[in-house]
Structures are given as structure tokens and as C-alpha cells.
Chain length 430, copies 2
């Protein structure tokens, strides 16, 4: 057996402690699969004295995570500090510059600086691995970058944020409103004290940017992702979706279309019969559609110490075995330059819910406006009657352009009889 | 860019032709992902003149597939001949002996001779890759062998035969009997003229033997797999399963238990809410449960030219990139020697359906027999009354031992009032 792979870990939060536990508990099987033992020999964290449930005895301790890159005995650096800049970025850059392989779970870093980091890795031949950055324990990066590499990918769709999926699932199952379920999720530790990163879709968009780069062999481009979160989803819309045969999910969708690649994160109505509609709670899913393989669905836990540590361990085993793959699946020079499509060019079906005064002529005004913008209706439901009061009106459309829909909505929202900003949710046929 | 990877393909049936098409259609993206072009330069098939929809111009042609192993210009051999012995085996052995990497879709070969082939590969350092042998386009081998390699796997469960799943799905959806649906599947090309390999569970057992070896890091052992097919499943049992909240699926299950590893293929009742219960038609699924990652579900097309070619291409790209993994995930010397558990030691719940004469005392005899064998009932349903005639009686049990159940069933089947051999289906809690 070759000498052990010596690992330096920066960041000993939940995931870091989970990784140390995994490498200790499964040391024997990992050595068999990696062809050599994988041993953590150096760590960096904020507080040396904190009890993490795992011994740090005998490990080299660094106050400054960036200093790990210069540790001459470490073969690999694992970055679990987090954040798109600051010490995480400095550490990864320093390690790659020194030709040292890096494993990271940092989606923000990859999404925002992945193109430069790939060039830095290529320059020294160092590996930059990030299975843990997307969909936790699901081997989605490996599936896209290696397992489905023979395919031209048509579309990748994902439930990429467990917090949002947990909230939407509970809103539906318990018929409760967003704010109420969010508060509970925060109490239970499923949502952060400042939840905006999750519920505004930013975290999912980071992950989608990474998946899109891999799926389409193009440089990662977070700025091109259209991002909407789930704050505006109401219990009423979830109930109406059920009646229409849909589920509401926050999806990340990256799709090859005529003229370019569209990437977007927003609440979607998906057919209740589609496998992704039944991925509930904190589970994540990634669906890839390739020209030869057809549809492949991967489902599992998207976060937490165990699943994330499992993904980091897989990257370390690849490094121990010297299995190398370019950061974005192909050398920088071989990446594709297909343009990004703006959201205004999106073409699809829509669900609209209006709260209108129940009085003659309102529906006529609304439907005339849609017609004026070239939008044709698939269905209309007006439930209940309450003359002179507010009632919900639900419209679903045939495929039309986002720009037309936006223009129509602006006019509909300005109608005197329309009492609230219209709710809009895109319907995905998948 | 390095020089192209030169590939020799043995067998130009549906999958072989699909592979040539894939490598031609996606040549550019494959070259980017593989770091060099992947080009088929030699082929072997039975009939040179047959139109396969893909040009063979300029390729070196061999009558004898085994001769491909000695083709000095080929870097890799792809074996798509099939069969556990004969030319397929001879070709793979010859190529590995010559130190030439091999890609195969041949589950029978791997299941029956995988241990020796792994030793042969290890002796010369040649790769033996077989992503296409299990679950078609789903990257299940890669997921188990690399993506989840940090985990101690507790259980792997799979829907591994599309023909069986198609038949069971149609029996349920169309309320038809096995023989009827099988005949239709044969007409449509979803089942072979001689379907026994599929419907008797042998094909699924080959694949399960492979998954079990990878999951538990042990030598492949097809002979240890308990195998039952779906011939005995009736439309009545499928309907009764629905009423009880289950679906009937032919599953392959490999499980780590106290004292060893159990591997079995047989019809199962699974809770309708489990993700695997909803994998219908020709789709396959693999569920892996690991100590850190939790449950991961992979779903996709398990057969057909496109999905199988996709899997073969992934293996070729790994070889082009020089990404190597031992055949069974670890070197032969590092494989585990945990014993196999015989089916008689299985412990679980059971569904029993008896056709009994509707007369006093029959139920008392049946339940007394179960009690005498230490088997406790969870529920009993007797539907309808027809004094003096045959009526179905359905019993579900709490967990008990297979050996006790077998002994009890022999006695119950011998009761004069029990008119047909009892139907037994194991209930899996999953």
C-alpha cells in the first residue's frame, strides 16, 4: 500500500467535524477503495477549545486557514470555511498556485470565481474538486461530468435548496402560510436566522450555475442566472396548483435552446406525476436529460454533515487514486462559447392569480389585455361569488413570451378592479 | 490535444450500432470531455453486409471477435457480443492478458466470472469497465464505486430488469394477467421470444451480484443470490397489494445483516409512498443507503441502444482520461470476506394469499398452523362469502423467519380446504 494521503482541513463546523468522523469511522473501507489510507493531519478553525465530538489530538493546528496552503506535509487542502471571498478564496487560490489539490464544498466561490479558479488549477495541474458544492450527498457533479459525459445534455433541472423545499412541502401538507412555516423552520434549524440567501433563491442559483457549466461545457456564469425566490408563494396558490394537477417547487433549470443557454431559478408548477414533484422536505434532486441516455433522476439529501462529508470523501478518494478531471469537465480552451439567453426571451406557460372585485366587466378587461399582448388562455377559474368583494381568478396560458407576459401584467396590475399585485408562477411541462 | 483513443468494437447489434452513432454524433463534445478524440477503428460482427444505419467504411473488419484483442492499433476493446462464455469471455480474457483495457456491457460475464477477470486485470494493470452492465444509462456503477465510496453501505435495492417492471406495471394499470401482458410485450419487442432469462429473475440477479460486490467490497458471487421471478404474480395479488397500500415490484436487494450479506431477487411488496414504488414501465432504479450519505435514489432507462451506448461512452472517456478504478472498487487483496447469508435465514414480513373453501374451521386451521411455527399475524382479510366455494383469504404477518414460513406453508398447502398453492410475496419495509 502506498503512503497515506495527508489532508489539511480548513473549517471545523458541522461539515468539517462530520468529515473527520467519517474518515475515522470508515478508515478501513476508505483505505481499500482509495488504495491508501486518507488521514487528516492538519486543521484550521476559529476556536481550538470547542468540543466538536471528535479528537484533534496530534493534528497540526493553524489559526490562519490560508496558512494550510503552505503546509509542506499536506497533500490536499479541504476548504470548508465558506463564503465567496475572504479566507476561503485566498486559501483555494494559494493552494492551487502551489500545485496542491483542493476539495471544497463552497458553491458561492465556484459560482462566482470558478472560471478563474479553473484557469489557476489548469496552470499548475492541480485538481479542484467540489462534489459537495451541489446537492450534498448526491453524486451529481460526478454524474454530469463523467457518468453522462457521452451525451449532449438538453436540460438539467434541480431541487437544489433543501430549506425552500422543506418550506414549500410544509406549506402544502399543513396548509400554512410562508412566514409561519419559515419561522418554524428557523426554530428547528432548517433555516438560517438570516434566511435570504436560501429563500431568495441565491443558493440554488449558485448551484445551478455550476450544473449549467458542467452540463453544457461552458464557463460558469452566475451573473446570467435569472433568480427569484419563494417569498411570494402563498398557501392559496399551492392549493390551486394541487387542483390543477401541479406541485409548486423552487427549481433551477438550465436549458439548451435555439440561440443559447437559459438558466433560471424560480418557483415552478410541475406536473404532479413527474418524479421531481414528489421530492419533498429537505431532499434535493437533479434531473439530467441527455440525447442518448434520456432522463436520469438523482435524489438524496442535499445538506447536513453526513451527506456533505460523504461528497468530500469521494473527492478525496478520487485524488488518492489520481483520478483527474478538468474543473469544468473540459480544458478551458475546449469550453463552449454559446451565449446566455435573457429571461425576457423565456417562452413558456404561465399561471396567474388575480384578486379582483367581483363586478361585471373585470374578466373582460383582463382577458382583453392578454389578447392585446398575443397571449392565449388555456383555462380560467373563478371560484365563488361575492358581489362587490374580492375573489380570486386563476388563469393559465398557453406558451407565450416572458416579455409579453410582463407587459400584460403591468397593465392588468394597474386595473382599478385588480386589488393586489398579480401572482405569477411559470408552468413547466418538463 | 493528445492522439485519438482508438477503439475496437466487438458486436454490432443494437447497442454496438448505437455506440458508433453516439461517438460520431457527439464527437466534438466527447473530445473536449475526454481530452482527445475517441474513434472506432476496428469492428467485428457476424454479418458484414447488414445495414446498421451507420457507416463502417474505413474500419478494420474482423470475422472473429477474439482477434480484436491482438489488433495492434486498438487502444481499447469494447465487448458487446454478450453471453457469459464463448467468444465474449475469450475476447475479454485475451485483451486483459495483453494489458489492453476492456469496456463491456456483459452482466452475465461479470456476475459469473468477475472475480477471475478482476485478477486478470490486476495482473496486467488493464482496466475492466462495465458501467453499461447494470441499469443501462444510470451511472450506478460509478455512483457506488466512486461517488459513495466514503460510505459503509447498508443496503442496495434495485429495479434492475425493465421487462419485468414493464409487465408488472401493465398488469396493474390494465388489470391484466401475466401471460397476457407478456405476450403483448413480446409482440412489442419489450420481451424476448424466450423470456425466461428476464422473467425468472436471472438477469436481475446478475446485476444484483455486481452491485453487491461493489457496495460491500467483496468478490462477486452470483451463486449466493436467491432468485425468484415474476411468473407467479397474479393480477389479483397486484390488486390486493394496492388495497394494502403496496406496489409489487421485482426487486434485487443486497443487505448487510448480522453475520453476513444477504442477496436476493424476488417480487416484493413495497410501500406505495417509497420512491421506488413509482418507478414504472421500462425504467430502472437503484437505491443505495450509506451510513453518512443516507438514501440516494438513481432512476433512468435501464436498457436500449441509447442509454447503453451512453454508459459505454462514459467508460471510454474515463479510459481516455486515464481515470482508473479497480474492477470491484478495491484491489483483490483488500476485498472483504464477509459470508453470504442463505435465504432460509431471511427475516421479514410476508403477504400470503390462499384460495380456500368457504366453510367453517378453515381459517382456524390456517392460523393455528402459523401459530405453531411462531408466526404472528398482522392482518387478515377474507373478502366476500360463497359457502362451499373458493374464496381468497389474505394474511399479512409480522417479521418472522423464512424457514418457519416455508415449513408453515408446506402444511397449509396440504390442507384439504386449501385449493391452490398459496401465493407468497415478501413485504419490504425499506
Amino acid at each position: 500500500m502506498t503512503r497515506p494521503l495527508s489532508v489539511a482541513v480548513a473549517g471545523l463546523g458541522t461539515v468539517g467535524a462530520g468529515l473527520l468522523t467519517l474518515l475515522r469511522d470508515n478508515a478501513e473501507i476508505i483505505a481499500a477503495r482509495a488504495g491508501r489510507p486518507i488521514v487528516v493531519t492538519a486543521v484550521s478553525a476559529r476556536d481550538r477549545s470547542r468540543d466538536r465530538g471528535v479528537s484533534l489530538d496530534g493534528l497540526r493546528w493553524y489559526e490562519d486557514p490560508v496558512a494550510l496552503a503552505a503546509d509542506g506535509q499536506a497533500d490536499v487542502v479541504v476548504e470548508l470555511v465558506g463564503g465567496s471571498d475572504g479566507p476561503a478564496r485566498a486559501l483555494v487560490e494559494a493552494a492551487l498556485a502551489a500545485g496542491k489539490p483542493v476539495v471544497t464544498a463552497n458553491k458561492a466561490l465556484l459560482a462566482l470565481h470558478g472560471a478563474e479558479l479553473a484557469r489557476a488549477a489548469e496552470a499548475t495541474g492541480a485538481t479542484l474538486a467540489y462534489e459537495a458544492a451541489v446537492a450534498g450527498g448526491i453524486p451529481a457533479i460526478k454524474a454530469l461530468r463523467e457518468g453522462l459525459a457521452g451525451n449532449r445534455i438538453r436540460r438539467v433541472t434541480g431541487i437544489l435548496n433543501g430549506t425552500c423545499n422543506y418550506i414549500l412541502t410544509n406549506m402544502r401538507e399543513q396548509k400554512r402560510e410562508f412566514a409561519d412555516v419559515l419561522a418554524e423552520a428557523q426554530k428547528l434549524g432548517y433555516a438560517e436566522a438570516d434566511p435570504s440567501f436560501d429563500i431568495d433563491g441565491v443558493d440554488a442559483a449558485h448551484k445551478l450555475a455550476i450544473l449549467a457549466a458542467l452540463a453544457f461545457g461552458r464557463p460558469v456564469a452566475f451573473g446570467d442566472v435569472h433568480v427569484e425566490g419563494i417569498r411570494a408563494v402563498s398557501a392559496l396558490d399551492i392549493r390551486l396548483a394541487d387542483e390543477l394537477g401541479y406541485r409548486i417547487k423552487l427549481l433551477g433549470i438550465a436549458q439548451r435552446e435555439e440561440g443559447g443557454i437559459a438558466t433560471r431559478v424560480h418557483p415552478c408548477m410541475v406536473p404532479a406525476s413527474h418524479p421531481i414533484a414528489r421530492v419533498d422536505g429537505v431532499f434535493n434532486a437533479v434531473v439530467a436529460e441527455g440525447d442518448f441516455v434520456g432522463r436520469v433522476v438523482l435524489e438524496g439529501r442535499g445538506a447536513g454533515a453526513g451527506p456533505t462529508a460523504s461528497a468530500v470523501a469521494a473527492d478525496l478518494i478520487d485524488i488518492a487514486r489520481n483520478r483527474q478531471t478538468p474543473v469544468w469537465g473540459a480544458a478551458a480552451a475546449a469550453l463552449d462559447g454559446e451565449p446566455a439567453l435573457p429571461m425576457a426571451q423565456h417562452h413558456g406557460a404561465y399561471y396567474l392569480r388575480l384578486m379582483v372585485l367581483d363586478r361585471p366587466g373585470v374578466i373582460a378587461d383582463v382577458t382583453a389585455t392578454l389578447r392585446d399582448h398575443g397571449i392565449s388562455l388555456e383555462s380560467m377559474i373563478q371560484r365563488g361569488r361575492a358581489p362587490g368583494e374580492a375573489v380570486p381568478v386563476v388563469l393559465t396560458t398557453h406558451d407565450c413570451h416572458e416579455s409579453a407576459m410582463r407587459a400584460a401584467l403591468a397593465r392588468i396590475g394597474a386595473l382599478e378592479a385588480v386589488l393586489e399585485p398579480p401572482a405569477l408562477i411559470r408552468i413547466e411541462s418538463l
